[in-house]
Amino acid sequence: MSTFDATTLVYVFQIIIGGLLVGVGVHFVPVGGAPAAMAQATGVGTGTVQLATGSGLTGLISAGLMMSVAPDNMLLIVMSGAVGAMIMINVTMLVGNWSYVYAVGVPPVSGKVDYDPITKDPQPPYIAPGTVGHGVPTVSYVSGTIGGLMGGAGGSLIYYALMNINGISGLSAFFAIGIFVVNAVIASYNIQGTIEGFHDPKFKRLPKAIQSCFVATLIIGIFAVLIHGGV
């Protein structure tokens, strides 16, 4: 039986920050949904929640391992999770691009901007007729890397907070997965399932996602801490 004190508030705060990182991170992940799988839209050909969760949870495996050997080093745990998620999303995007380039025969190109903001490459001449871009161009790739970093860090932070309350890794991991998915789904609604990255006009909807993720994670965070604390 634990009491509701200052430490508890710190844990709730950490869970909220973690949830917000996940919510914001999802906006960076370039996903084109079903059209992208037909090389009809820019981004990875899957759902936002699916890719963000896949990468964030891969990061959770790295963070879990790190927490088991260095339980007090929060920064190291969070960074381990972030790096694990970044590796997952980077490899997926790169191999996805192999499929677009070598199996479909289309160059990676953005449909939302005329020039790639990072490489300054012109985009429209490389867009196949009847499509709105395809593959993962550099700007989306970098954006996806940032998304992986934030998602992995957020998931790990939630796990770190829960582990400090109950010390049971399996339970904490599953609660962290749950909180992760809630925030990923809210963010996904905000961008209506597809986004090219931070250069996409939909990215401007970010403040709304921050508000909703904050409210959702605050409620879940309080209950998670109470349940895990055994009140």
Partner: protein
């Protein structure tokens, strides 16, 4: 780092590669995931077909379910109550997952095609018989490999010790594998194999949605033909992606002891990320040089 850990890591990478390949082919035989939208649409735009149609859910949740199911069964059988050998426990666990997959696939195929009766789409019982078993076989291999990876990461007598229980690790790897499969290999099926009658080198023109190929090299095309085609590229690259992720993610913490050299593991991970970003940029430059701009483009921005 000791040789046993390194050997186990290599085994995990190999198992992951097989798991990735079979996962992608399983989704290709069943037309799960995003390309399913076109199979679904085909009958509605007048192309009745003999393609298996099972959109049970997104690939990540369904794969997470199979992997977790196999892992739970395996851990129960491995527990002190039953005391079964790990190898056979994982085999039985994978069998349970495959049977579940078979049930979901069959109900999904029958439900979807029955609902399209108004478009003259039939339920083909021979397709159901031949394809469901193929799907189950691939699902078995996937579940077996994912649980084997998770077992290597958690078994108390092996050097790699992960704190998460076996089912949680299997759940996470299953989910990640589904995300990878639907992001990489499915593009080969969705953008290329389903629309082979259109010239190579373009994404699907929105005007041609649903116009999938329904005739095969001989007779009518079945989904097993699709798996044969995708096994040449989509399947192996998915395997490569999952193998790389499992290998690179665990290699960092095998070479550098997380307890004492944790920051080195993080830094080497960041280095890998930077190299992958450079690799993608090189691929983009190469692709644009190789294919050039589209001749139909009539805008003012020069390539």
């Amino acid at each position: 780092m000791d040789m046993v850990s390194m050997g186990l890591l290599a085994a995990m990478g190999a198992l992951a590669t097989i798991a990735g390949t079979s996962e992608d082919l399983e989704s290709d035989v069943g037309s799960q995931s995003n390309p399913n939208s076109q199979v679904q649409l085909a009958a509605q735009v007048g192309h009745t077909h003999r393609i298996y149609n099972k959109a049970i859910s997104g690939e990540p949740p369904s794969n997470a379910l199979y992997a977790a199911l196999a892992a739970v069964t395996a851990s129960v059988l491995m527990s002190d109550v039953y005391g079964m050998n790990a190898f056979f426990s994982i085999a039985v666990g994978a069998l349970v997952a495959a049977v579940f997959n078979g049930i979901l696939s069959m109900t999904s195929y029958m439900g979807r095609n029955a609902s399209q009766a108004r478009f003259d789409q039939y339920i083909y019982l021979d397709v159901l018989r031949s394809h469901t078993t193929t799907i189950m076989a691939h699902a078995y291999i996937t579940a077996f490999c994912v649980v084997a990876i998770s077992y290597i990461m958690t078994a108390p007598w092996l050097p790699i010790q992960h704190p998460f229980p076996l089912p949680v690790i299997a759940f996470i790897w299953g989910l990640a594998l589904g995300a990878i499969g639907s992001s990489t290999g499915d593009v080969h099926y969705g953008a290329e194999r389903q629309f082979q009658q259109y010239p190579f080198g373009a994404g699907l023109n929105a005007a041609n949605s649903g116009d999938i190929v329904t005739k095969g090299e001989a007779g009518l095309r079945s989904s097993i033909d699709n798996a044969w085609f995708c096994a040449k590229f989509g399947g192996p690259v998915t395997g490569l992606a999952f193998g790389l992720i499992v290998f690179l993610d665990n290699w960092r913490t095998t070479v550098f002891d997380p307890a004492t050299q944790g920051w080195y593991a993080v830094l080497i991970g960041i280095l890998i990320v930077i190299l992958l970003n450079i690799g993608n940029r090189l691929l983009e430059i190469r692709a644009k040089k190789m294919y050039g701009p589209y001749p139909e483009y009539a805008g003012e921005i020069k390539a």
